[in-house]
C-alpha cells in the first residue's frame, strides 16, 4: 500500500481543493505550515483511520506526529505493525 501517495491525494483533493499533488513534499509541514487547521484535522484523522483501518488514541497523535507526509507514514506503519502483533493501543480502550 502506498501510504504517502494516498495521504497526498487526500490532502490535495480535500484540503487543498485540487492543488497538484507534487507540491506536497515528504517534509512539507502540513499543520505548522498552515495547510490544515484544527477543524480540517477532524476530517483528515477520520480519513486516516478509515482508509488504513487503524484507530488512534487521543495522546497518540499531535502536531508533531501528523505534521508531514513522512511522519504520517511512519505513524501508520507503526499502527499497522502493532495491530498485526496484537498490541493494544494507547489506554487500551477501544471506543466506537
Amino acid at each position: 500500500m502506498e501510504i504517502k501517495a494516498e495521504v497526498r491525494q487526500f490532502i490535495a483533493e480535500n484540503v487543498l481543493l485540487g492543488v497538484h499533488q507534487t507540491t506536497i513534499e515528504d517534509a512539507t509541514p502540513l499543520i505548522t505550515g498552515g495547510l490544515i487547521d484544527s477543524i480540517g484535522m477532524i476530517g483528515f484523522v477520520a480519513f486516516l483511520e478509515s482508509r488504513f483501518a487503524v484507530e488512534f488514541m487521543p495522546r497518540e497523535i499531535d502536531v508533531h506526529s501528523l505534521d508531514t507526509v513522512e511522519r504520517i507514514e511512519e505513524l501508520i506503519r507503526k499502527k499497522l505493525a502493532d495491530r498485526d502483533a496484537g498490541v493494544a493501543a494507547g489506554d487500551g480502550q477501544q471506543i466506537r
Binding site: L17, G18, P29, G34, S38, G40, I42, V45, D62, R96
Partner: protein, 501 residues
C-alpha cells in the same frame, strides 16, 4: 461583601468561594480545583501584581491554552483591577507580538507547561508562579474596578490587515452572563464545557457562570479536539450538563463522532454560536439529544450575545434556524435603508482599543443612545424572530471565527513576488465556507500555492488561511478600476462545485 447582584465579575468568585469553598470550580482531566483554592490562588497573584506596580486598567496578556492556570490568571487580573488580554498561544509569533504591542500589556503570562512564566515586558523582571499560596494578606486593599471599566480585550480580525481589540466592560459581560444563568437555569450542580479558547467570546459563558452560579467549569482536553468520538466520550464521561461551542465542532461530533449512537442523560443545555448551523444539522442534534434545550445564540464580539432562538421541538431542518428574538438587555432595530441590524443596550463594547475613529464609525446614535452597526443583514419574521440574511461588507464567518477578507489580501501581498490579491468566500458543500484568493504574481511560477500559504501562516491564524489560491494574469476589474468581486465570487463557486479549473 458584594455578591451575585454585583456587576464586577471577580466579586462573584469571591462570594462563591465564601459560600461554597469546597465545591469544585474547575476540573481539568484528573485535577479538581475548589472555589476556595481558585480564589486564594487568584487573590494571591493579584496582590503580587499590585506589589509589582500594576495599577487599575493596566493590561495583562494571557498567552495560555485554556488551563486551570489560565482561569486563575483571568481572575487574578480582574481582582487587581487590571484588564486581561487573552491571546491564543497557537497564533503565529508575529501576530502575538503585534497584539502584545498594540495592547501595551505590562505583564505577559505564558507557557504551555506548568508553571506559567509571568514577565514584565518593560523591565524583563518576573513574578514567580506559586502553586499553593501561603498566607493570604492584602486582599482587602486590592483596587476595585468600576462596573463600567474594561474587564478584557478580545482581538479580532481587522479589515485593514491588523487585528483590532474589542474592549468589554464588567457591566457588558455581566449582562450576558446573568441573563444566560437565568434563562438556562445554571446552578451549582451544573458541569459546563466550552471548547472555545479564552480569546473567543464564547468563553465568557463557562468561566463566569462558574463564578456566578457556583457551577463547575470542565475544561476540554486539547488532545481530543481532533477526534470527535473522544470529544463525544468526554461529554459522556465528564457528565457535562451544559455545552457551548461553535456549530463546526458540533457538526464533527454528529458526523465523525457519532453523537447520536449514545445517550447523555445529564446533558440538558446545548448552545451554539459564531456561524450559521445548517438546518439539517440542527434537527439531527436535537433528535440525538432529545431532552436537551438546544439554542442558537447570535451576536458579534462587539455586543456579545444579543438575540437567541430555542430550537423548536418539531424542528425538521427544512429551513434555516432564525437568530431569534432579543435578549432582555439588548435593544435591536433594523436600519431601513440597508436592512442592517443595529444593536444597543448593556452588552455593547466600550470601543476598539486605541482606535477612536473606528470606534466612532462602529456606532450610530438613535434617540441619544449608541447602537452598534453589526454589518449583518436581517429580516424580521411575522412571529418576531429575526432571520440572518448575510453581510453588508466583506467580513466572513468560518468555523465560528470572524475573517476580514482584506486582512487575507494584505497578508498575501506582503509576500515577495505577489503583486495583487483579491479574496472571496463561497459556500462549499463539504467544508462550509471556503476562501479562494486570486493572485497576480510577478511572473509565472514566482510563487507556489504552498509557499504563499506558508507565508500567510506566519501572520494569520490557521482559520484565516485561504483554502485555494488561483494565479491569474490579470485580476478582473470593473470600469472604475475596482476589483470585480462578484465575478471572482462566481469563479470561486464554480471551483467549489467540482470544476477544478
Amino acid at each position: 461583601m458584594p455578591g451575585p447582584e454585583s456587576e464586577l465579575l471577580c466579586d462573584w468568585l469571591r462570594h462563591t468561594a465564601a459560600a461554597a469553598p469546597d465545591a469544585p470550580a474547575i476540573v481539568e482531566e484528573n485535577r479538581v480545583t475548589s472555589f476556595c483554592e481558585l480564589f486564594e490562588q487568584a487573590a494571591w497573584l493579584a496582590v503580587r501584581f499590585v506589589e509589582h506596580g500594576i495599577r487599575k486598567q493596566d493590561r495583562i496578556a494571557l498567552v495560555l491554552p485554556k488551563t486551570t492556570e489560565a482561569v486563575v490568571s483571568v481572575f487574578a487580573s480582574l481582582l487587581a483591577g487590571a484588564i486581561y488580554v487573552p491571546i491564543h498561544p497557537q497564533w503565529p509569533k508575529e501576530r502575538i507580538e503585534t497584539t502584545l504591542a498594540d495592547s501595551g500589556a505590562r505583564l505577559v503570562i505564558e507557557g504551555e507547561n506548568f508553571p506559567p512564566r509571568i514577565t514584565d515586558r518593560q523591565t524583563g523582571t518576573s513574578i514567580p508562579w506559586q502553586p499553593v499560596p501561603a498566607a493570604l494578606a492584602g486582599v482587602d486593599s486590592l483596587p476595585r474596578a468600576d462596573a463600567g471599566d474594561p474587564a478584557f480585550i478580545l482581538f479580532t480580525s481587522g479589515s485593514t490587515g491588523q487585528p483590532k481589540g474589542v474592549v468589554l466592560s464588567h457591566r457588558a459581560v455581566s449582562a450576558f452572563v446573568k441573563w444566560s444563568a437565568r434563562e438556562f437555569q445554571v446552578c451549582s450542580s451544573d458541569r459546563i464545557a466550552c471548547p472555545s479558547p479564552l480569546s473567543f467570546d464564547l468563553s465568557t459563558f463557562d468561566i463566569f457562570n462558574m463564578a456566578l452560579c457556583g457551577a463547575t467549569c470542565v475544561l476540554v482536553p486539547g488532545h481530543v479536539m481532533w477526534m470527535p468520538r473522544f470529544l463525544v466520550r468526554f461529554v459522556r464521561e465528564a457528565r457535562i450538563t451544559c455545552w457551548y461551542s461553535v456549530p463546526s465542532i458540533l457538526a464533527g461530533m454528529l458526523q465523525e463522532g457519532r453523537l447520536a449512537e449514545h445517550e447523555y442523560p445529564g446533558l440538558r443545555v446545548i448552545l451554539f454560536a459564531g456561524e450559521v448551523f445548517p438546518g439539517p444539522n440542527v434537527a439531527q442534534l436535537q433528535a440525538a439529544v432529545p431532552q436537551a434545550v438546544c439554542a442558537n445564540l447570535y451576536g458579534p464580539t462587539e455586543t456579545n450575545v444579543v438575540t437567541w432562538c430555542r430550537v423548536p421541538r418539531d424542528f425538521d431542518g427544512s429551513r434555516p434556524l432564525p437568530i431569534g428574538h432579543p435578549c432582555p438587555y439588548a435593544t435591536v432595530t433594523v436600519e431601513a435603508s440597508s436592512g442592517q441590524l443595529l444593536v444597543g443596550g448593556d452588552s455593547l463594547m466600550s470601543g476598539y482599543w486605541n482606535r477612536p475613529e473606528e470606534t466612532q464609525r462602529a456606532f450610530v446614535s438613535l434617540e441619544g443612545k449608541p447602537y452598534y452597526r453589526t454589518g449583518d443583514r436581517v429580516s424580521l419574521a411575522p412571529d418576531g424572530h429575526y432571520l440572518f440574511l448575510g453581510r453588508l461588507d466583506r467580513q466572513v464567518k468560518r468555523r465560528g471565527f470572524r475573517i476580514e477578507l482584506g486582512e487575507v489580501e494584505a497578508a498575501l501581498v506582503r509576500q515577495e513576488g505577489i503583486l495583487e490579491a483579491a479574496a472571496v468566500a463561497a459556500e462549499d458543500g463539504k467544508m462550509g465556507t471556503a476562501i479562494t484568493a486570486f493572485v497576480r504574481a510577478r511572473s509565472a511560477g514566482a510563487v507556489t500555492f504552498v509557499e504563499a500559504k506558508a507565508h500567510c501562516a506566519r501572520t494569520l491564524p490557521l482559520y484565516m488561511l485561504p483554502d485555494r489560491i488561483v494565479f491569474l494574469d490579470t485580476i478582473p476589474k470593473g470600469s472604475r478600476g475596482k476589483i470585480d468581486y462578484v465575478a471572482l465570487g462566481r469563479i470561486a463557486e464554480g471551483l467549489n462545485h467540482g470544476d477544478q479549473g
